[in-house]
């Protein structure tokens, strides 16, 4: 069997190496648009911030590919798929045949249509080549456009490198996809306490400068700077699939086996649209753990051990300087257009903050800052099991009783939501 994988990211590599460990007799080829062995995009801000050496971002070394007899074709972005002929064409016109194709090319940085965004001094840190350029450039004042997880991590990294940093967010609070405004407001104050300026509800109009950027102009002010980092999110790479007649919506559509509607073509990683493992709703959580789990399902299906994908799960952490925050499941905003009684459990104790979102008495999401994060895993478990929180309240006297046969996790969970023994 000849397996061709497009994309040398986390999903692509997980498929390749899993496959190789299971089978020695198939050909495995990875087509990469980049020129590095597998690296972890999550690690890049920490390399820029000099928390770790550059070597630490890599998940594989060149010799790993060799040792596992995986052919790695670098610098060959795929440009077309012919599902009939089972052939992939790359940018330089080379053709690669396959028996099974895996689309794992991920997503690309969303570049907002802002005047002057192509100027010198405008960077990103989604890919290693771009992160290298940012790392090697020098400057003193940076503006980060976008306040998602990557934006905040990039801001921290640049601050550590001695830049004056401003983060600009179009929406009303930072990390709007991850946190509710109440949590985000606390994190914003913490960021500002670390010397990072945060501007929310502000729209970037244009970047000024002759060749090199010298200022960012928003609808409220002009911010002089010499470095701009774009962190406005990632769009799934679906054009390649779409032109080949593969079903796409927000991302590439796949069935429960992560197979596309084209015979012999699977997809995994940031480019696919899957379902939320807890709710079954369509979801796109472009996160590393989901890419790894999807890749394993694809690899199982490739070796004819049918496996189904349970769905993706939302879990992210936000960490800068000595602030530690975590979020899982849905935010209040994400639940707003749904039916069902919402209840918010909040605990606010000095530096520490806990916010649990219940819908019809079941945990659907939560956020924590500081100490409350230590046991957030108990709430993630409660969300998975769909634990009945009003039931825990009702039976609390039994659960909290000495010698109670209830698992300690219920006991701890009750304490965390403020029940007293």
């Amino acid at each position: 069997m000849n397996v061709l994988i497009i994309g040398n990211g986390i999903a692509g590599n997980e498929v390749a190496f899993f496959l190789r460990r299971a089978r020695r007799d198939c050909r495995v080829t990875i087509l990469s648009a980049e020129r590095f062995p597998e690296y972890d995009p999550c690690s890049l801000p920490y390399f820029i911030g000099r928390d770790v050496p550059r070597d630490s971002v890599f998940r594989k070394r060149w010799q790993d590919y060799h040792a596992h007899q995986i052919q790695l074709v670098l610098d060959h972005p795929a440009t077309a798929i012919d599902p009939e002929a089972r052939e992939v064409t790359t940018a330089d016109g080379m053709k690669f045949g396959y028996d099974r194709l895996v689309l794992a090319h991920g997503g690309s940085l969303f570049i907002p249509p802002i005047d002057g965004i192509d100027k010198e001094g405008v960077h990103s840190c989604k890919q290693l080549a771009a992160a290298d350029r940012l790392d090697q450039s020098s400057g003193s004042a940076a503006v980060v456009i976008g306040s998602g997880a990557i934006g905040i991590e990039a801001a921290e990294a640049l601050k550590k490198r001695g830049y004056a940093v401003t983060v600009i967010e179009l929406l009303d609070w930072i990390m709007p996809a991850l946190f509710d405004p109440e949590t985000a407001q606390r994190l914003k104050l913490r960021l500002e306490g670390c010397g990072i300026r945060v501007r929310t509800s502000e729209k970037v109009l244009r970047l000024e400068g002759a060749q090199r950027v010298c200022a960012v102009v928003t609808d409220k002010r002009r911010i002089p700077c010499d470095t701009v980092v774009i962190a406005t999110g990632v769009v799934p790479g679906k054009a390649l699939a779409q032109t080949a007649g593969i079903d796409v919506q927000r991302g590439i559509r796949v069935d429960a086996h992560l197979q596309t509607n084209a015979a012999g073509i699977f997809a995994c990683g940031d480019c696919v649209e899957t379902v939320d493992a807890c709710t079954g709703e369509d979801a796109m959580f472009q996160l590393k753990h989901n890419a790894i789990e999807q890749a394993r399902v694809v690899a199982h299906n490739l070796i004819a051990e049918p496996a189904t994908y349970a769905g993706a799960w939302a879990f992210a952490r936000a960490h800068f300087f000595d602030t530690h925050a975590v979020t899982f499941g849905k935010t209040t905003r994400a639940t707003q257009c749904e039916l069902g009684q919402l209840e918010i459990i909040e605990r606010d104790e000095g530096e520490d903050y806990l916010r649990i979102i219940l819908k019809e008495g079941r945990v659907v999401g939560g956020q924590a800052i500081g100490r409350f994060g230590d046991f957030i895993g108990l709430f993630i478990g409660a969300m998975w099991r769909k634990d009945d929180i009003p039931g825990i309240r009702e039976n609390w006297s039994l659960i909290a009783r000495s010698g109670s046969p209830h698992p300690w996790t219920y006991r701890k969970l009750g304490e965390l939501i403020g029940l007293k023994s």
């Binding site: 972890d40 999550c42 690690s43 920490y46 928390d51 770790v52 630490s56 998940r59 590393k288 753990h289 790894i292 789990e293 879990f315 952490r317 960490h319 530690h324 975590v326 899982f328 924590a368 994060g373 230590d374 046991f375 957030i376 895993g377 108990l378 993630i380 478990g381 099991r385 634990d387 009945d388 039931g391 825990i392 009702e394 039976n395 039994l398 659960i399 909290a400 000495s402 010698g403 109670s404 046969p405 209830h406 698992p407 300690w408 996790t409 219920y410 006991r411 701890k412 023994s421």
Partner: protein, 170 residues
């Protein structure tokens, strides 16, 4: 199909008296001091010490902390424990958050996480298990399928019988 399981420290919280010797032993071996804050397991104490639960890394088969660590610092050691590579760890606590038990401990000295390494570098049994031999609340189970199956059965029962919705349990 018989399946090999990873060795891990099995906890019987009914036998735990909350004495904390395990924490002392752990910090002594790894850090050379008696400091529960630096121990790789911790005892949660409820009801003024009438109920005690030692929490320790269970080295999950498909460990979520390995998948979520942004720095790929969480890895399975040659002894099948799941450990943090301190060279790579940036102290972000992703492993603490995603752990179903909150087992990883944050080292107060450097902010990096610590989990049980089964005292792999030491010839004696894990120190915590040695320290607990009078109570017997901790023991190492290695590839003992029967034990693990039984403990899983118990967990399954707990899950269904104690779903609070079903009302009080005697």
């Amino acid at each position: 199909m018989s399946r090999k399981t990873n060795p891990f420290i099995l906890v019987d919280s009914d036998k735990c008296t909350g004495c904390g010797l395990c924490e002392m032993a752990c910090s002594m071996l790894h850090h050379g001091i008696l400091s529960p804050h630096r121990a790789r397991l911790r005892v949660l104490r409820f009801d003024n010490g009438r109920r005690n639960v030692p929490v320790v890394c269970q080295a999950c088969e498909d460990a979520p902390c390995i998948k979520t660590c942004p720095m790929n610092a969480r890895r399975r050691s040659e002894h099948q424990a799941v450990v943090t590579d301190e060279e790579r760890c940036i102290g972000c606590r992703a492993c603490v958050y995603i752990c179903p038990f909150g087992a990883p401990v944050v080292n107060p000295d450097n902010g990096k996480t610590l989990t049980c390494d089964l005292c792999a570098d030491d010839d004696t049994h894990p120190w915590c298990v040695q320290a607990c031999r009078d109570c017997g609340a901790l023991k190492v189970v290695a590839c003992e399928e029967a034990v693990v199956r039984k403990s899983r059965q118990r967990a399954e029962q707990a899950k269904t019988a104690y779903q609070p919705k079903k009302g009080p349990v005697a």
